[in-house]
């Protein structure tokens, strides 16, 4: 087997496979090395949101980036569907973030104003009170104070998205190689070498997209990528007649009709398990927002680990020591996928004009700490 590629992407989740699609489309010879079936996989715990509102309140470039990624989505989805035939269920009809208390509502309003400022006014959002909200979604409880709404928000089925990306990257000639956890990487002469338990790979360009493993992997090439797990638990209900025309941060209705309920944030280390308290809390909140879900059965609950950077914004890092080595870490694998497969892939392919900007380099963390 020939194990020498132009570009190797380490990690076949939403981030790695989106970038692989983009780079392979530019004619480069790409391989994706992926791990095992039961490794930590943030992509399988994704909530599926294309989420703009509230992102980058204290990071103007990130606010811009998110808006830009959301705008790239319709064309990106079209391209994926035309090429793979997979309908990933894109719906960009806006999104709600429900406010369960008065103080919630006020804080949200302030946060939204700030994002609007950062984006030079180019950010549409609305704050709804209960009656305005119930006009739009009649099933919302009268006890809910209101919600913020942003028309740029949307959602997809994250699992079908991952499948479409895997299919697309292989259509573009990318080699996908599962069960290959990289144990060591190094720069040797004029290329990189990567060792797994069974194979040695070589490449000219290397991109680490391995989620929580990026910290360990990038260290081999002297890059410091500070990422930490943040657990989220998710509930999936049985199928329900369609009632939710938009995405929301708390409850999402899938194309099949099931409800995805989530948004817990737990700092528990590398523990993917569930706990009774959080499952109960999530169900309670869903019923509080939508009382008619009282009699709906829970089908499945699970935990997954988000890949969090210290400021929750993505890391797009190019090594200064080895300019052909990159580390990409973020927890918004769906929202940013349309950008990762296009603009970011251009940059990694060598187009400096497409560079995301130094604000996104991991150096921002070491500079701050000095």
């Amino acid at each position: 087997m020939n194990n020498h590629f132009d570009t190797i992407i380490v990690g076949g989740g939403l981030v790695g496979s989106a970038i692989a699609c983009g780079i392979a489309r530019r004619g480069r010879q790409v391989a994706v090395l992926d791990g095992g079936d039961r490794d930590f996989r943030a992509s399988r715990g994704n909530f599926g949101l294309i989420w703009v509102q509230g992102k980058g309140g204290d990071f103007p470039a990130y606010a811009h980036l998110t808006g830009d990624a959301a705008r790239r989505w319709p064309a990106f989805e079209q391209m994926l569907r035309d090429s793979t035939g997979i309908d990933i269920g894109l719906q960009q009809t806006g999104g709600y973030d429900f406010c369960l208390s008065e103080s919630d509502w006020l804080a949200r309003n302030q946060e939204m104003q700030l994002v609007k400022q950062h984006r030079g006014g180019e950010f549409n959002y609305q704050m709804f009170d209960n009656s305005e909200l119930r006009e739009r979604i009649p099933q919302v409880s009268e006890a809910i104070v209101g919600a913020s709404y942003c028309p740029e928000d949307g959602h997809v089925n994250p699992l079908y998205l991952l499948r479409a990306l895997h299919q697309k990257m292989q259509i573009e000639g990318c080699r996908y190689i599962p069960q290959q956890v990289v144990v060591r990487s190094a720069r040797e002469q004029n290329h990189f070498v990567l060792d797994t338990a069974t194979e040695r790979y070589q490449c000219e360009r290397i991109v680490f997209c391995a989620g929580l493993d990026n910290q360990r992997l990038a260290q081999d090439l002297n890059m410091t990528i500070p990422v930490k797990p943040l657990r989220g638990q998710l509930l999936i209900s049985e199928r329900v007649d369609p009632f939710l025309p938009c995405a929301s941060l708390q409850v999402r209705q899938t194309g099949e009709g099931s409800l995805q309920i989530g948004n817990s944030h737990e700092d528990v280390g590398l523990d993917e398990s569930t706990c009774l308290e959080v499952i109960t809390e999530l169900a309670t909140r869903a019923v509080k927002i939508f009382p008619h879900l009282h009699k709906i059965r829970l089908n499945r609950a699970w935990g997954a680990l988000r890949v969090m950077t210290p400021d929750a914004a993505p890391i797009y890092h190019q090594s200064s020591e080895h300019p052909a080595a990159y580390a990409i870490s973020c927890h918004s694998g769906v929202t940013l996928a349309a950008y990762h497969a296009t603009g970011l892939a251009d940059w990694i392919s060598g187009d400096e004009s497409a560079a995301p900007g130094n604000e996104f380099s991991a150096d921002r963390f070491s500079v701050r700490s000095h």
């Binding site: 992926d34 019923v287 879900l293 059965r297 089908n299």
Partner: protein, 456 residues
């Protein structure tokens, strides 16, 4: 109910009852949860109440009456009509009782959730009128219902023959018995026969059943393969081939059986490690000699620990109960070993028959790895072909296949497709199932509504 117990037992079949009694007998504070209204599990289901003559159901079933009676007299907290929908490694238990969710903690847990029938997928197996042999037994024991004349029984394993015998006793006219056991099995099983002789009662029972079925003159097709059920909306006919000949029988009821496998859902959700048992063609929890799993404090007893049958299940339950009593300080080392000695010996004697039965009734690969058009996941209607499509995409295992196809994401949570998906992967990669792995199990183990959770 209290908030916390020393021992919680899940399941009131032979193993669960025995574990609870053994521990309670030495002073352990025990609670037992069972989903059914009455104790007995699937094997002694409805034994206290059935209107069916015990003689008709056979000696093994009749034995249950005494066992259940003794259990009723034990001093422990028995909670019927209670489903355990949640269990994690911290031994927090989520219960559902009369529609209300409650939470209980236990220092020790014995999971005795028993077995389920191994899925037997072929084209048309989802048609109404195709059921499992176990379903036939449940209807007999708990509802005194037997098939109308013309039922067809198909598959492999002792339960299929037992059911045929029970139906004969009840005067049911069986149209045919389609045995899928490969011809070559008997030769391969022979080398296990000498060891099996120590538990010869199983062999005699098998011979008796076989003889009775033969005497009744039921058409008995051997080495059956290529099953295909046809109909709409209900089953109308079953097609198959036997000795190279394609055949078809018109029937409205087909009962299937291809052995039983551990019902792993609760044990897996609690984080108990699994191992692949090649002879039994199934996963089972990794256990020590007392039944303690890789999650310390969580024990497994009975068929969940690997299919052993009702009598051995009872013994494994007793051993788990004794060890729990010992760990909690109610039994010293010496006493535990003294009490356990004869039980272990008896258990090993019952285990001796298993290698023979496992080899004799070993399922052909063709019956485990279905054709492309066959539904693998009945809930989400995913076919074997869909699974092969994602394998071709490089999909790295059952969990990724689940994410890509929705296979196993429906309400049954993979109970009816997990075994088949593993086999399709194993066959495609030419690897043993032990290297393929298995779906992660997710709560809720039993259905619960969002409202029941919110009100808890």
């Amino acid at each position: 109910m209290k908030d916390s117990y020393q021992l919680a037992v899940i399941g009131a079949g032979p193993a669960g009852m025995a574990a609870a009694q053994a521990a309670a007998g030495h002073g352990v504070d025990v609670i037992l949860f069972d989903e059914q209204a009455r104790p007995g599990g699937q094997i002694y289901r409805n034994i206290e109440n059935t209107s069916v003559d015990h003689g008709l159901l056979g000696k093994d079933y009749a034995m249950g009456a005494q066992i259940v009676q003794a259990f009723r007299q034990a001093s422990l907290d028995y909670q019927p009509n209670t489903s355990v929908w949640y269990l994690d490694k911290s031994r927090q238990i989520g219960l559902l009782q009369q529609g209300a969710s409650e939470q209980v903690f236990a220092k020790r847990i014995v999971i005795a959730s028993g077995a389920q029938e191994r899925p037997m997928p072929f084209p048309g197996w989802q048609l109404p009128g195709v059921m499992t042999a176990g379903a036939g037994q449940v209807l007999l024991k708990s509802a005194a219902m037997v098939p109308e004349d013309g039922v067809v029984l198909a598959g492999c394993g002792p339960l299929l023959l037992l059911l045929a015998w029970q139906y004969l006793q009840a005067g049911v006219k069986i149209a045919a018995l389609l045995e899928t056991t490969p011809k070559s099995n008997s030769g391969k099983a022979l080398r296990h026969l000498p060891k099996a002789l120590v538990a010869s009662e199983y062999l005699f029972k098998g011979l008796q059943l076989t003889r009775a079925i033969r005497r009744a003159g039921i058409p008995w097709h051997k080495s059956v393969c290529d099953l295909r059920a046809e109909g709409g909306p209900n089953l109308k006919a079953i097609h198959f081939s036997s000795s190279g000949k394609n055949q078809c029988i018109e029937t409205g009821l087909l009962l299937l059986h291809q052995g039983v496998i551990p019902d792993l859902q609760i044990a897996q959700a609690a984080g108990c490690g699994l191992e692949w048992h090649e002879a039994r063609q199934s996963w089972q929890p990794k256990l020590d000699n007392w039944g303690e799993s890789s999650q310390l404090g969580i024990f497994v007893a009975g068929d969940l620990g690997g299919i052993v049958g009702a009598r051995a299940a009872r013994l494994t339950g007793q051993l788990a109960g004794l060890q729990v009593a010992h760990q909690l300080g109610y039994l010293d080392h010496a006493m535990r070993d003294k009490l356990a000695g004869p039980i272990q010996k008896a258990r090993d004697r019952h285990h001796a028959i298993r290698p023979f039965l496992d080899a004799y009734y070993r399922i052909a690969e063709s019956a485990l790895v279905p054709l492309n058009e066959t539904l693998v996941c009945r809930c989400e209607e995913v076919t074997a072909g869909h699974i092969r499509d994602v394998i071709a995409l490089g999909c790295n295992g059952p969990n990724q296949a689940k994410a890509f196809t929705r296979c196993g994401m429906g309400p049954c949570q993979g109970r009816l497709c997990a075994a088949t998906v593993e086999q399709i992967f194993a066959s495609a990669h030419k690897k043993p199932v032990s290297e393929i792995g298995r779906y992660n199990a997710r709560p809720p183990i039993k259905p619960i509504t969002l409202g029941q959770l919110a009100d808890s």
